[in-house]
């Protein structure tokens, strides 16, 4: 039973090996002479005025979380779509209810100002 998966294993090994080989070959064969300018984030641009690592405003996280939530809910449409024919009308109603629940959440977020960028 597991033998069916051997092609996948071979493929992953090939893909991983290709990437590793490329990195190894460039590291070993190429010259490596670092200097301050070369290591700067933008070698040919302006010099940086502050370290690039900073705290993001929390708004980004909120948006990311909301995106994640609705995205995952959205994914559940796909299996539903595949078996919709079998589910017939009740299945359609069920999905309507599901969308309604999502919509309530969306409206709530909107009214609460979770989507407002500037406040």
């Amino acid at each position: 039973m597991l033998t069916e998966y051997i092609p996948i294993l071979i493929l992953s090994l090939l893909a991983g090996g290709f990437a590793l080989t490329n990195i190894a070959v460039t590291l070993l064969s190429g010259p490596y002479r670092p200097s301050r300018e070369k290591l700067a984030p933008y070698e040919s641009g302006m010099t940086e005025i502050q370290p690039p690592r900073q705290r993001f405003p929390v708004k980004f996280y909120v948006i990311a979380m909301l995106f994640l939530l609705f995205d995952i809910e959205g994914v559940s449409f796909f299996p539903w779509a595949i078996i919709l024919r079998g589910l017939r009308f009740p299945g359609f109603v069920e999905m309507l209810i599901f969308v309604l629940i999502l919509a309530v959440g969306y409206v709530f977020l909107w009214k609460k100002g979770a989507l407002t960028w500037e406040r």
Binding site: I83, G86, R88, G105, F108, K111, K112
Partner: protein, 503 residues
């Protein structure tokens, strides 16, 4: 190998009807969200009203379900047998008491009433599903639903660092425990080939529908152990109880009141379904572990409670001790034990939430020191009726006769005696003896004369007062005439045992 898509088409209206109470509460949750977004004025009153109305409707739906329940519905994942409905009652009663005690606390700590009640209802849905679940999957999903809502609720008082700490601690530790639980479930599935509780029981009982080696598989026992850890964590059984005092103390008091009873009720319902029914055939393998856990829980919970100075921490350790008593009934693994667990939670809902009503009132009147036991000094002189109610709850938690706590504890221990686990009953009685000291110490502090004589407390807020009276009536009523409610518990256990073919 072809993937076979078989589509069962048998979700009927009756299926949906069997989860009507849950649906009603979900509806209430949605309405609350919308109301919270669109209604600007008098939001506490409106939100409390909607929450109470929802609970009332769900209660009526559950009452209807009592006589029309289905043993299995929605592809054998959910059962609306009387056992589930009985726990629905417990959860709804607790939610109603919580809704009554909350308004004054919400005003005191200025948090958003709509979101608060919405989350309470959301976790109530999770709890009701958990009590009704007959599939390991649904147990897990319900557990996550109730936990997620409770994580947020624990950290709901954002201005207080303790509350943030409680929310975060609860989240981290509890998700860890959830991982244990789901891992254990996966292994049990691996061993038996099913996630349905009834089929696991059949498989382990006489090997029907699964490989004969299932009940000897090491996978099964590792899985059972992991599941035990998961459940034990959620109902705060020693040594998985570390989170309980911090979370109970840090969380807003109404939340603590709610979760201290309902989480335990819901998880114990699932615990019973899994351990007393699905895993009953291998009882000899898990009994020893549960036996030890029960003893350690009763001893540690009661002894550590002796030195607490915060009322909420005291009640947290008392909750741990009570989890131990209930575990004794579960370990008995007989009909009387299951009946007593069901009855215990009804009693516990009244007496424990009652005790938290007092804490909430004290906090909203005196600020954060209202949680200190020392601040109860002279309460009998300042506010006699509140102090009297506290005394009733303390006597009941300590297990004095004529209160619900005594009947519940008596039944739990007699179940152990009936199952010939007399050792558990004796240790239970002796540890309750220890508990008398710390419960009565609260009463004792209230009896001391106040430092400043002649001061009266401001009147108790009407809704909290009502909650306290209901809790007092429930505590004493169940203590003197438990017959009616015991009959309900008996019927519920008879129903679930019938499903599993047990006498």
């Amino acid at each position: 190998m072809m993937l076979v898509v078989s589509v069962p088409l048998h979700v009927t209206l009756a299926d949906w009807g069997s989860i009507l109470p849950e649906l009603v509460v979900t509806g209430g949750f949605l309405v609350l969200l919308l109301a919270d977004a669109f209604i600007p004025v008098r939001r506490t009153e409106v939100a409390t009203g909607i929450a109470l109305l929802t609970i009332l409707l769900a209660f009526l739906a559950a009452m209807n379900l009592w006589s029309h329940g289905m043993a299995a519905s929605l592809y054998d994942t959910v059962s609306s047998d009387k056992f589930a409905v009985f726990f629905d009652f417990v959860i709804l009663v607790s939610a109603a008491l919580t809704a009554l005690l909350s308004p004054s606390y919400i005003r005191y700590s200025h948090f958003d009433p709509g979101e608060f009640y919405a989350l309470i209802l959301a976790s109530a849905v999770g709890m009701m599903f958990m009590a009704a679940a007959i599939s390991l999957m649904v147990i897990f999903i319900a557990l996550e639903l109730l936990s997620l809502a409770l994580y947020i609720l624990s950290g709901f008082e954002r201005s207080r660092p303790e509350s943030q700490e409680a929310g975060f601690k609860y989240f981290l530790l509890s998700s860890f425990a959830s991982a244990f639980l789901v891992y254990g479930m996966a292994m049990v599935y691996g061993a038996t080939g099913t996630t349905r509780i009834l089929q696991i029981a059949t498989c382990l009982g006489h090997g029907a529908g699964c490989s004969a080696a299932a009940s000897a598989s090491p996978l099964l026992y590792i899985g059972v152990g992991l599941m035990l850890v998961g459940f034990a964590f959620k109902v705060s059984i020693v040594p998985f109880h570390m989170w309980t005092p911090d979370v109970y103390q840090g969380a807003p008091t109404p939340v603590t009141a709610f979760m201290s009873v309902t989480t335990k009720a819901a998880v114990f319902a699932a615990f019973i379904r899994v351990f007393n029914f699905a895993l009953a055939p291998i009882e000899s393998h898990w009994y020893g572990v549960v036996w030890a856990l029960a003893i350690v829980t009763m001893v540690v919970g009661n002894i550590v409670a002796l030195v607490q100075t915060s009322m909420k921490r005291l009640l947290a350790y008392s909750g741990i001790a009570h989890a131990g008593y209930i575990l004794v009934a579960l370990a008995a693994d007989n009909a009387l034990g299951q009946t007593s667990v069901a009855f215990y939670f009804l009693a516990y809902a009244f007496m424990n939430i009652g005790a938290f009503v007092v804490v909430a009132v004290m906090e909203s009147q005196e600020g954060p020191v209202g949680d200190e036991i020392a601040s109860y000094r002279g309460l009998f002189y300042r506010n006699p009726s509140l102090a009297g109610a506290t005394a009733v709850f303390m006597f009941s938690l300590a297990g004095f006769p004529l209160t619900a706590g005594f009947v519940a504890k008596y039944l739990a221990f007699s179940a152990a005696v009936q199952a010939h686990h007399t050792d558990l009953a004796i240790i239970g009685v002796l540890t309750s003896l220890i508990s008398i000291y710390y419960y009565l110490r609260v009463v004792y502090v209230m009896l001391r004369r106040p430092e400043v004589p002649g001061v009266q407390s401001p009147p108790t807020p009407a809704a909290a007062d009502l909650a306290a009276w209901i809790a007092v009536a429930g505590t004493i009523g169940l203590g003197i005439i438990p017959t009616g409610f015991l009959n309900l518990a008996t019927q519920s256990v008879t129903a679930i045992r019938y499903i599993f073919g047990l006498p």
